[in-house]
Amino acid sequence: MVNTHIRTEDLNLWFSDNHVLKDVNIPIYDKNITALIGPSGCGKSTLLRCFNRMNDLIPEAKIKGKVFLNEQNIYEPRIDVTQVRTKVGMVFQRPNPFPKSIYNNIAYGLKIRGEKKSMINKIVEKSLKESWLWEEVKDRLNESALSLSGGQQQRLCIARALANNPNIILLDEPTSALDPQSTAKIEELCIELKNKVTILIVTHNIAQAGRISDYTAFMYLGDMVEFGETKKMFTVPQDKRTEAYLSGVFG
């Protein structure tokens, strides 16, 4: 049996009066890929952003319930949010490298924690290798990250997250802005990375969830409708709504 890395306990979230997450209970297993699927507006991205407290940035968001990271509730008052976000990396829908050099993009998380220069050099190389970008950029680390292609930028964002040496990486529809080839590369990369980190991916693409994930959670209108092993859910969904969504009746 695999260990539970994150789990939520009756997690509720409101944006003003809009009840976006309703009593969500989900376990995220260690060193596995878990996919969050569901139609637009079902709350999957919002749920993802609960795991590194990015919803804190939205003033009208109100959260009730608990999110345990290694059995520690990250919504407790004494928790240092910056520590949580270091341990839980995030990659966004649109590649968002800083308008800095390739090197400085990766080094950013290390510099803000005051790492030594020699250490940073090592980690930059390691992270770029882990995200399969090293060969493509090793001769131009000082060029602007914005000169890279969309797919390369997204892998740079993954490398940037990896540089913090996180236990978990959250991916918010990381391939929806990319071409099929770049998408395939990122999918392969995710499968490779799960040896090292726990991966949680929000995707609109049902086939993608089927290809790469070990577990899948289907959300609908703020409810966690079904959670289980991807293979099982994709062959024998338990809930009618899951079945309808997977067979493309709505979405």
Binding site: L57, T82, Q83, R85, G89, N96, P99, I112, S144, A161
Partner: protein
């Protein structure tokens, strides 16, 4: 020609006439100033002090005075402008407070400049006992430049994509680190453009320094910020309204105008070049 084609023809040519009139005024303006003052501008005009009750000599002290007033006032208003803008963009709470600040800024921007002069006289010269000095004048000009500076900085900061801020925070950076390492460096070029435009505005103002910094005539260069100084715009005003040798003073006034105009245009040109370079490099 059909009716529609005729309308199109007339419409386009009407626009051409308007643009031609605008251009003619601008060219005429430059022609008048330069033809009357251009020949006055020589090396000695730029580097010598006025002589014989300002009927001869150059305008060097006025150039120095304008230089210091501009530099110091921008030096004061830049940090105030940037920090105010950072607060409004990054924290912006409570909403009613930010709204009042914004109303205050916009009101400040619409106040006639002579009123800044009176304000400076009351507050800096008299109340704070700074006398008529570079410091009083710079402070007055700084207040004048503040609205422009805040608006430019705020626009520059808001122009930084939200994605960058999220990326930084998601990597475990604090709000302060995000502002210092991502927001400000990204917005800096545009803040600089705003600053340079303010320099042009500040360098050309006469009314705010009338009672706070400017002096009619001094051969001495300022040695401290507590000295009063000659300044270019006021020098023109003084030459045109005071003294008894109009025939000799008026050409000097036009010569001074050419220098002031050249300085302001130079500063604007720098702003345009910077902006052009940013747009060329920017890819988001």
């Amino acid at each position: 020609m059909t009716k529609r084609e005729l309308k199109q023809f007339l419409g386009v040519n009407l626009l051409r006439i308007f643009i031609a009139v605008t251009a003619i005024f601008l060219i005429l303006f430059l022609y008048v100033i330069i033809s009357k003052g251009g020949k006055m501008v020589t090396w000695s005009f730029l580097t010598e002090s006025p002589k014989k009750y300002m009927t001869e000599g150059g305008i060097f002290p006025a150039i120095v005075g304008t230089f210091w007033l501009t530099i110091i006032s921008i030096g004061i208003s830049l940090p105030f402008g940037v920090f105010t803008a950072i607060y409004m963009v990054s924290y912006g709470k409570p909403a009613w407070f930010v709204r009042s600040v914004r109303i205050a800024i916009n009101t400040l921007a619409g106040v006639p400049s002579i009123i800044y002069g009176l304000f400076g006289l009351t507050v800096f010269v008299q109340l704070m006992k700074l006398d008529v000095s570079i410091l009083s004048g710079s402070l007055t000009l700084a207040v004048l430049a503040l609205p422009v500076m805040i608006n430019a900085s705020e626009e520059a900061l808001r122009g930084v994509p939200h994605d960058f801020r999220e990326a930084s925070l998601a990597l475990g950076a604090t709000e302060r680190q995000t502002i210092l390492r991502v927001l400000l460096p990204t917005a800096l070029p545009n803040i600089l453009t705003g600053t340079i435009i303010s320099i042009g505005r500040v360098a050309g103002e006469t009314a705010p320094i009338l009672f706070t910094a400017a002096t009619f005539y001094t051969r001495r260069l300022p040695t401290s910020v507590m000295d009063e100084v000659m300044v270019l715009p006021y020098h023109i005003y003084a030459l045109m309204t005071e003294g008894a040798h109009a025939d000799k003073q008026v050409p000097i006034a036009y010569g001074t105008a050419v220098v002031l105009l050249a300085l302001v245009l130079l500063v604007s040109a720098i702003a345009i070049i910077i902006r052009y370079n940013i747009r060329k490099k920017r890819k988001w």
